[in-house]
């Protein structure tokens, strides 16, 4: 049991994740330098354009996180269909990916609002892109609330998995909202076909930020996964002790 506890203590930081953590830190720092110093101000938006390097990668990572949640949920549902005790790691993965997704959605919302204050003059507009993003955000908050409720883990995980699948519908809606509805939200400045205002540095900085945020998110997900796992392990260790003590007591009394 002490061995398990020791390995458990190590488990949030194995050499690989430590490397990952350090590179996440370095990449984020470099991203800041690139974004704030190297890349030029935008012709139209001026300095505010620097928000772009967090705003856009964050939401893409959030999409990725939610996609991961959905995939893990499908795998969990398939695994646990026959054996309720199986597939728990998929459930944990779904949970940690959703947490990270929610955090990055929040970052996009916050940067977007700040950016909006600068460019539109208000923090918020009831624009289709913005509205669908905040809907996505609360939907996954509900998902996390469901996961956090005190309940039978199998019941909770299963319901959460179904909910994760339904919730994912929101992601394509957010992405295509600018095409489906007429919106205030920028799409021209960076759309793939024509990007007149984007210079080489801006483009590369954006790509680099993408990479940095991906590393950061991966590191976060692995960490969260391990923390959840440790919490469950703590329970399971208690479980073994409980089985033993239940039986000892029972045998002893007869």
């Amino acid at each position: 049991m002490t061995a398990a506890a020791n390995s458990g203590a190590k488990m949030t930081a194995t050499p690989i994740t430590r490397v990952l953590g350090v590179s996440a830190l370095a990449a984020t720092a470099l991203m800041a330098v690139l974004g704030l110093v190297v890349s030029p101000p935008d012709v139209i938006q001026g300095e505010a354009v620097r928000m772009l390097y967090i705003h856009v990668p964050s939401i893409w990572i959030a999409y990725g996180g939610f996609a991961l949640t959905s995939i893990s949920s499908i795998l969990f549902l398939r695994r646990s269909r026959r054996r309720p005790d199986q597939g728990r790691h998929y459930d944990r993965l779904a949970g940690s990916a959703a947490e990270v997704g929610v955090v990055f959605t929040a970052i996009t919302l916050i940067t977007g609002m700040l950016w909006g204050k600068v460019t539109w003059g208000t923090y918020w507009q009831w624009d289709a892109r913005l509205t669908t993003t905040v809907l996505l955000f609360v939907t996954y908050l509900g998902y996390l609330a469901l996961r956090r409720l005190p309940a039978e883990p199998t019941v909770r995980s299963r319901r959460a998995a179904v909910m994760a699948l339904i919730s994912f519908i929101n992601v394509p809606i957010v992405h295509y909202s600018v095409d489906w509805w007429r919106t205030l939200h920028q799409k021209a400045s960076l759309s793939v076909g024509r990007r007149p205002e984007i210079t080489g540095e801006m483009y590369w900085t954006l790509l680099y930020s993408m990479l940095a945020v991906t590393i950061l998110a991966t590191w976060l997900i692995i960490h969260r996964y391990r923390v959840i796992r440790l919490e469950e392990l703590r329970d399971e260790e208690g479980l073994e002790a409980l089985i033993a003590s239940r039986l000892n007591k029972a045998v002893g009394s007869h």
Binding site: R82, R83, P84, D85, E152, P153, T154, D235, E236, G238, L239, L242, I243, R246, L247, K249, A250, V251, S253, H254
Partner: protein, 217 residues
């Protein structure tokens, strides 16, 4: 595979607590099995595992020939379960409730009257809303709701609780009858001297498994 319930080393986990810890049990058709054991021994959990309401995490479990690990919903409609709670729609009237339960297990609505009479439920209360019944009267409605389904396997959690002396005798007779016509009965009771009589076999649980077995009666 003629056994009605066949559990081998069944482990079942609720939350992070092992409610069944490697339980072995084999119940043949027609038996009336009394399950005893102290509070928290796992009796309710055993019944719920038989009904497929809690999952079996390891070991083998089959009920009425169905493998509970493959599809635990399969045997349910041949099973009648009476838990600590009565599972009554409090706003319905007594006869409406029993009729609904009858219809939902595919029995005829006309069996309602027979079932209510059999449990000795007074006729003048048939049209009363369940919410105004006394504790024992509710228990009788719950038993009648089981009876209409003519289950092959009865799982009863302290069925005598709240019943008066006469109704207890009556219930015992019903159980004997059912067993004689081929049903299998597993019931939990803490009232040893009185309830032992109708049981054909007695097992004692402790710590989530069966510790004593009086052997087939």
């Amino acid at each position: 595979m003629s056994a009605v319930v066949e559990f081998e080393r069944v482990v079942s986990i609720a939350g992070s607590f092992p409610v069944l810890t490697g339980l072995d049990l084999r119940v043949e058709q027609g038996e009336i099995l009394l399950v005893r054991g102290e509070n928290g021994a796992g009796k309710t959990s055993l019944l719920r595992a038989c009904a497929g309401l809690i999952s079996v995490n390891s070991g083998n479990a089959s009920v009425l020939g169905f493998d509970m690990r493959a599809d635990r919903r399969a045997p349910r409609r041949y099973i009648g379960l009476l838990g600590h709670e009565n599972n009554l729609y409090r706003d319905l009237r007594v006869s409406e409730h029993v009729e609904f339960r009858a219809a939902s297990v595919g029995a005829k609505a006309s069996d309602t009257a027979a079932a209510l009479e059999q449990v000795g439920f007074p006729q003048q209360l048939w049209t009363v809303p369940i919410i105004s019944l006394s504790a024992g009267q509710r228990r009788k409605v719950a038993i009648a709701s089981l009876l209409v389904g003519r289950p092959q396997l009865w799982l009863l959690d302290e069925p005598h609780a709240a019943l008066d002396t006469e109704s207890r005798k009556n219930l015992d007779a019903i159980l004997k009858d059912a067993s004689a016509s081929g049903a299998t009965i597993i019931f939990v009771s803490h009232e040893n001297p009185t309830t032992k009589d109708i049981a054909s076999r007695v097992v004692t649980m402790d710590g989530g498994r069966i510790m004593e077995d009086s052997g087939a009666g």
